[in-house]
């Protein structure tokens, strides 16, 4: 290594040093601090770092008579699970469909692309408020929102309570359906854009070669296009997955915790218990669990992309 290269390396290090320091303090430092609070006795405005072991976690996971925390937390975890599954399916499914349609060299593609992408430019808070109005069911005599529309279309039998309906099928609360529709509405454009970029990156030769070998239109998609889009599906799932695992703003503004916690998620529980109930230690414990959930998704992705970079 000549002195010039060493010099450059030193400069490179100096350049990233500030962000390393900032990350160390404001990300890892605070993660560590949250972990510390989660095993402390801090309950109330005044910090109290007395070590209590895993008591705060135990409260979240063990149901006791009259205790609500565990009931609420389990409901929130289940809701997160179902929300994530359906949100990802809708986004990937419709995103891919829209991308394939747009890829057919339609006229005015730019306009459609903008229309589909536009919801992404809106904050989740705005989406939440608007969809709260849309899905507000109203009453039998005075339906509101989408129920009023269904009534006018003569689709009376499709009316239901939307996010106010506390019905649960097993651990799945039907009130979640409007919520993941709203979330998917916002993010479908994003997956569409990713898929569209992916489709455009596939050389026409490959498709033609497929056709020459006798593949039908669907066959070309199944055997050539889809496998080549796999990395894009993977990235989309990771990006959307971590959004849905820590979703807060959309649900908070749209439905809150919902009837009998039908639309509750750990993020809302964390906010309420910490900043309304002043149970800081319990809030920290929920945060740590949320971090672990997201880590389960992100870490494999990081390993995967790191490996790819090494291969390159």
């Amino acid at each position: 290594m000549n002195s010039n290269a060493r010099h450059e390396r030193w400069i490179a290090f100096a350049m990233i040093l500030p962000s390393i320091i900032l990350l160390a303090i404001f990300v890892y430092g605070f993660i560590g601090w949250t972990g510390l609070v989660s095993v402390s006795k801090w309950d109330g405005i005044q910090p109290d770092y007395t070590f209590v072991g895993l008591d705060n976690y135990r409260q979240l996971f063990s149901r006791v008579a009259g205790g609500i925390a565990a009931t609420r937390f389990y409901t929130g975890l289940w809701n997160t699970f179902f929300f994530t599954i359906f949100f990802l399916l809708l986004c990937v499914g419709f995103g891919l469909l829209l991308a394939i349609l747009l890829d057919q060299k339609v006229k005015g593609e730019g306009i459609f692309r903008t229309i589909y992408l536009f919801p992404m430019a809106i904050s989740f808070v705005v989406t939440g408020v608007v969809w709260q109005w849309i899905f507000a069911p109203g009453t039998e005599s005075r339906p509101r929102g989408i129920n009023a529309l269904l009534g006018q279309l003569g689709l009376e039998h499709l009316k239901w309570g939307w996010y106010t309906d506390p019905t649960a099928i097993g651990p799945f609360h039907v009130a979640l359906i409007p919520v993941f529709i709203a979330a998917a509405w916002q993010m479908i454009g994003y997956t569409m854009a990713m898929y569209l970029a992916g489709l455009r990156a596939i050389p026409d030769d490959l498709r033609e070669a497929g056709r020459v070998d006798g593949a039908s239109g669907i066959g070309v998609y199944r055997h050539i296009v889809m496998p080549l889009l796999r990395p894009i599906t993977f990235s989309a799932l990771i990006v959307l997955g971590h959004i849905s695992l820590k979703i807060f703003d959309l649900i908070y503004t749209m439905t809150g915790k919902g009837p009998a916690f039908a639309t509750d998620v750990p993020g809302i529980f964390m906010f309420e218990t910490t900043f309304q109930g002043n149970h800081y230690a319990q809030g920290a414990a929920i945060s740590v669990i949320m971090l672990l959930m997201v880590a389960l998704v992100i870490i494999p992705y990081l390993i995967y992309s790191f490996r790819q970079e090494v291969e390159l």
Partner: protein
């Protein structure tokens, strides 16, 4: 190429740093004019030395509140105006954080207080929200001396001072009184169905049957965010247990597992049979709108609903009626917004001036008619208040006074949060036994009830 990039980044860093530096100079600059303004007056006009003297650093008052819209913002601004007239050289820094009943603002406030950066004064609900959150944590300064210096001990009712007190000291200045056990009804609907407004639970259920048969929602509820249900339940608890029994719930004297509480919960669950199905999607004002439109016969809501009804052009007594919620006549369930004095307030002197104004007759009569609440003072000017507020004044002067749970007067914030969680399940599953067990446990967890 990479060198160019390097220079560009360095340039950006320098730019950023200088921006930061500018930021700090602007803050010192805001402090500077006050000093500069003070000095020239001293030299130019020697006789007015007194006026120039108080300028010490930035002469500010930073007040933290979540009143940002509607009548409450108007009321606060009216109080600001009075303050500016009295102290023209004090600059009011309005540290408002918008949003609902202040849950967002409270999160910001907690962070600032914990970081040792308190505002000079902040808005806080009277009672346990003030005491259990801030006073017990040793973050507040008592304001008893302000009460004594201004002779307020005689004009504020003992029940109110009691709710504000802890360890023999008063901890904040109440600026208004709201009542939570009010039923707002549609007089036309009651007349059409040949009904009187129900004074007891039995009358309520009888009237509700008739109304429901007539195709009217008997009771409108908008419990988006659950607190409206908690507030409805507190009025039912009061109606069932009476004022003393109700007060005892929050001190451990009334047993949460008692049969009376069971009765109250059953009454509440039964009431829900007469509530609009979409209550979870509505806010309290949408429920009030149902009453105004004649879709629902009544709604139980705090008396800020009065401001809502007048704002949509209805006249009290004609477009809407009001009465104590069923079985609670003779009791005034109160909540109060108060202004406080944090320890180490940066401009303590100004905060004391502000609190003195906020508790004065002049300040309160400027604020309350606009906010739509009454003054806790017994000597306020009745002519400034509308018909409903005058009737509330009469009741406040003559009734028993009990603290509201849903609005932080009766119990600590942690307790209220736990209670709200119990309510979230109870409103849906209506399981009285489970709700009662949950409420009893919440009392234990709050450290008030024994195991």
């Amino acid at each position: 190429m990479s060198k160019k990039l390097l220079w560009l980044t360095t340039l950006l860093v320098i730019l950023a740093l200088s921006l930061v530096a500018c930021g700090s100079t602007t803050t010192t600059e805001t402090e500077a004019p006050a000093e500069e303004a003070a000095e020239p007056t001293e030299e130019a006009a020697a006789p007015v030395e007194e006026e120039a003297a108080p300028a010490e650093g930035a002469n500010q008052l930073e007040f933290f509140s979540w009143w940002t819209a509607g009548g409450e913002a108007d009321g606060l601004n009216a109080m600001y105006e009075v303050f500016k007239q009295q102290y023209p050289d004090i600059e009011i820094v309005n540290a408002t954080v918008a949003g609902g009943a202040g849950s967002n603002a409270k999160a910001v406030l907690a962070t600032r207080m914990q970081a040792g950066d308190p505002p000079d004064s902040f808005q806080v609900h009277a009672g346990h929200e003030l005491i259990d959150t801030w006073v017990v944590a040793d973050k507040m300064e008592p304001v008893t001396f302000i009460f004594e210096e201004n002779g307020w001990m005689d004009v504020y009712p003992a029940d109110v001072i009691d709710i504000l007190s802890y360890n023999g000291e008063i901890w904040s200045v109440p600026v208004n009184i709201h009542r939570s056990n009010v039923a707002w009804f549609n007089p036309q609907l009651f007349a059409d169905n040949g009904l009187e407004y129900p004074k007891t639970f039995d009358d309520f259920f009888a009237a509700a049957e008739t109304l429901q048969a007539a195709g009217v929602t008997p009771l409108a509820l908008g419990d988006n965010g659950i607190w409206a249900s908690t507030q409805l339940l507190e009025t039912v608890l009061l109606g069932t247990l009476g004022p003393d029994g109700y007060r005892g719930l929050w001190t451990g004297e009334t047993d949460w597992n008692s049969a009376e509480v069971t009765t109250a919960l059953e009454t509440f669950a039964h009431m829900l049979d007469y509530v609009n199905e979409d209550h979870a999607a509505l806010s309290w004002d949408q429920a009030a709108q149902m009453v105004a439109d004649g879709d629902a016969a009544m709604t139980v809501m705090g008396d800020w609903a009065n401001g809502y009804f007048t704002s949509i052009g209805l006249a009290p007594g004609e477009g809407y009626g009001y009465a104590p919620s069923p079985s609670t006549e003779g009791t005034f369930m109160m909540l109060s917004d108060t202004f406080s004095l944090p320890q180490n307030a940066p401009h303590r002197e100004n905060a004391i001036k502000w609190l003195t104004l906020a508790g004065s007759k002049e300040g309160q009569d400027a604020f309350n008619p606009l906010k739509g609440s009454i003054s806790p003072r017994s000597d306020s000017d009745r002519s400034l208040y509308d018909a409903y507020l005058q009737s509330a004044m009469d009741d406040f002067a003559s009734n028993e006074i009990t603290p509201s749970l849903a609005h932080g007067a009766a119990a600590s914030e942690g307790w209220v949060t736990a209670f709200n969680d119990v309510m979230t399940l109870f409103v849906t599953d209506r399981d009285v036994a489970a709700a009662q067990a949950g409420m009893a446990q919440a009392c234990v967890d709050a450290g008030v009830c024994g195991q």
